[in-house]
């Protein structure tokens, strides 16, 4: 069924169609409508789930962890300071191997107090052991929530489905909502091998000596390494049923491009439009939108940048004292390989400043004009 919905409601519909059983959340702009609609669905019986109101995001994730350990399909959503407050509990979910799925609306971190978009909130959680999907359309949001549950529950690793504040969260688009029976066929009920139950008492997350801890981490990494192939496989399966492919990356005209732009989130869609305009003007550019950031899609990134002479990464985030984070990660994927090429690192759009087709034109012009980047970071649109 086609419906015009906002990005936040795309998360709600995804969680509803996945038949989430427990939702625990605390409201925060720009995430509020996600859980507002879910609470209405729980109240009017559209969704048969327990909606737990909590006093903080730390408690929201703690409640999700308890519910997931008890064997319930569990969903929450947050943003920025709320995600930061969850930080400790994020480790408990991933280390506990609990497949919670969470929506995160990318909002810049305060201070200065802000509600507008950038990726520093979710990228600050890079090393917590959660999978991260950066979405670029409301359709992709609904579809990815379903895929994220499937991948998470197969590997026992939690997932974040991430969308930009306002440019996606509050933007209305036509979304083809998957039919419930087809979703049920794609995503069977969550049946973990072990769960908290009085009939089979076990201790979860207890004191773990140096004798066992390292093996637990090794197992988490090994399962994370299985995720890229599983995301591709479940993406193809999704395409067979619903006609839309869900991949690790979204390449556009990369095969013959001399410069490949590397982007994420809604800026990745803007880049797509910018590439069309630049192609018409004779520039040989392509766009590689990275959708899945954890696990990092090493193979796909190398494949789609193989033909390029230069790579221009546009980051809506920063690791202070280093680079934009996607730019660091790009280098870690391509450097040390035979066909290694210069990576230019641009930073744009922090705190919700617009990233426009003109921003990408500026990025491409700089990249053409220089053999290699003359600065560690090339700033786009900053009033120096």
């Amino acid at each position: 069924m086609k419906k015009v919905i906002m990005g936040n409601h795309a998360l709600s519909y995804g969680a509803m169609l996945a038949r989430s059983q427990v939702i625990a959340a605390y409201p925060i702009t720009p995430q509020t409508q996600v859980v507002e609609l879910l609470s209405e669905m729980c109240a009017d019986g559209t969704l048969n789930a327990k909606f737990i109101k909590v006093e903080s995001e730390h408690s929201a994730m703690a409640a999700c962890i308890g519910a997931s350990a008890a064997g319930a399909r569990t969903f929450t959503a947050t943003s920025a300071q709320g995600l930061a407050l969850m930080h400790e509990m994020l480790h408990w979910a991933s280390g506990g191997r609990l497949p919670v799925v969470m929506g995160n609306i990318n909002r810049a971190m305060a201070p200065g107090w802000t509600i507008w978009s950038d990726q520093n909130d979710s990228l600050s959680q890079r090393d917590t052991g959660w999978m991260q999907y950066y979405c670029a359309s409301n359709q992709e949001v609904v579809d990815t929530v379903l895929q994220a549950f499937k991948v998470s529950e197969t590997l026992a690793i939690p997932s974040m489905v991430i969308l930009d504040a306002f440019s996606l969260s509050h933007t209305y688009e036509v979304v083809d909502l998957p039919e419930a029976d087809k979703v049920d066929a794609y995503l069977p009920p969550f049946r973990p091998p072990f769960r908290v139950t009085p009939s089979d008492p076990r201790a979860f997350g207890g004191l773990t000596s140096p004798e066992h801890y390292m093996e637990l981490r090794y197992k988490l990494q090994k399962d994370m390494e299985k995720a890229p192939a599983l995301i591709e496989a479940t993406g193809r399966e999704f395409e067979k049923i619903f006609g839309r492919h869900l991949g690790l990356v979204d390449p556009y005209l990369c095969d013959d491009a001399e410069i490949v732009l590397v982007t994420s989130g809604t800026a990745g869609y803007t880049a797509h439009v910018a590439v069309d305009a630049m192609r018409e003007a004779g520039y040989k550019v392509g766009n590689l939108r990275i959708k899945v950031f954890r696990p990092f899609p090493f193979e796909e990134v190398r494949r789609h940048t193989r033909a390029a002479k230069k790579i221009a990464v546009v980051d809506r985030n920063i690791s202070y004292g280093h680079h934009g984070i996607f730019s660091q990660e790009l280098k870690s994927a391509v450097y040390g390989h035979a066909d290694c090429k210069p990576v230019f690192g641009f930073i744009a759009g922090l705190g919700g400043r617009d990233i426009t087709p003109a921003s990408f034109k500026e990025v491409v012009d700089y990249t053409i004009a220089h053999e290699r980047s003359e600065e560690e970071i090339i700033w786009i649109g900053v009033k120096k």
Partner: protein
């Protein structure tokens, strides 16, 4: 005295043999955190009024009630001193651990 516990250590030969979740690794049965203790509670039972406050307040469940009297489980007591602080008759005293 505390009941005898099964202190058999559970070990896994390889990561493959372990559960995916950090679950039931059996560690608390043999990992006697009492060895972390620097001071130990000693109960003078002649002043004890059997109120159960020490049992209720112990964060490590290391005060056991046996035949209606409190007994310290030194295998797991870390020596935090909360029982001594809370005891209304001050019949629990913390003494230097002799190692």
């Amino acid at each position: 005295m505390p009941k005898k516990r099964d202190t058999q250590k559970i070990t896994f030969a390889s990561a493959e043999d372990m559960p995916t979740m950090p679950m039931s690794l059996g560690s608390m049965l043999w990992n006697k955190t009492g060895s972390w203790r620097n001071i130990r509670p000693e109960i003078k039972l002649e002043d004890c009024i059997q109120c159960g406050i020490c049992w209720k307040f112990c964060p490590d469940m290391s005060i056991l009630i046996e035949n209606e009297w409190p007994v310290v489980d030194y295998d797991f007591c870390k020596g935090c001193g909360i029982c001594a602080e809370e005891c209304p008759t001050k019949c629990i005293v913390m003494v230097e651990e002799r190692k």
